[in-house]
Symmetry: C2
Subunit: 157 residues, 2 copies
């Protein structure tokens, strides 16, 4: 389902990608993620009033970010194994993810440039937005990835 | 161990916080996280050469971000349940996290301002850096949190 991994030279500004499927976010997974990584009341308990901020259970924003990463890896961006994230700019969670939501991702490459410090690598920036089943954005971010150039030796670094 | 959750008014610029403990990152957890959220070779396999980018197993950057969130929640920042992340600015992963690394977080509140749209809330920005056991930064980020003002009704939104 995934395309062959791209080298730096294969990423072009304007290249669009999308996830080939949706990932459902269940109450069980929301609570399990939160118990390990973000144990705040509104990520752990269904009970109204348990949290002071949200009414009802919501996914940790880091859970949403992790699901979005899975959707990006599964997409036709072709990131698999030849690029590594070095930064993320302006991540925004415009609305919470709730149990039963189903997420997908769409995005576009916005910038590419050779690395100034490593001749065998280049920088690729892409914008990615995760949407719920109502096509409401739940996460927007710009990812900055260091990608290998064609001919770079594997296993470097 | 955690302090009482703070309201917006309790956050002041210059407030410093730190995690009360370290969280070890094991090969088992790196692979389990990656299998669910970031299934790229260098996050799944110990074997050298399995990945084209890193030599050896490294944690997904989103795993590192999730562990950092846990350390922030456990810290004396006092975020628990009265603030919700709305954005993250300039996240950087200066170096990878590897099996056996043990992470801690230090940070500081850098900005506070009342919300323009919600009278019962305010914006708190804090910078947080995750360090490994060699005091090398592995994640730097500025978090933007919407916090309840004192007297705000619980369960709103």
């Amino acid at each position: 389902m995934r395309p062959a991994p791209r080298f730096f030279e294969d990423f072009q500004v304007g290249l669009r990608f999308r996830s080939p499927h949706e990932i459902p976010v269940t109450a069980e997974r929301i609570k399990a993620f939160a118990a390990e990584f973000d144990p705040q009341p509104f990520h752990l308990d269904d009970g109204a009033g348990a949290g002071a901020f949200f009414a009802g259970l919501t996914a940790s924003g880091w859970h949403t970010a992790a699901v979005a990463m899975r959707l990006i890896v599964d997409s036709d961006l072709g990131l698999d194994g030849r690029g590594a994230g070095v930064a993320a700019e302006s991540m925004r969670w415009p609305r919470p993810v709730r149990p039963g939501d189903s997420l997908r991702v769409e995005g576009m490459v916005t910038e590419t440039r050779p690395s100034r410090s490593r001749a065998d690598r280049g920088i690729v920036k892409f914008q990615a937005t995760a949407y719920n089943q109502r096509n409401e954005a739940v996460l927007e971010a710009t990812h900055v990835v260091m990608a290998l150039r064609r001919g770079a030796a594997p296993g470097c670094r």
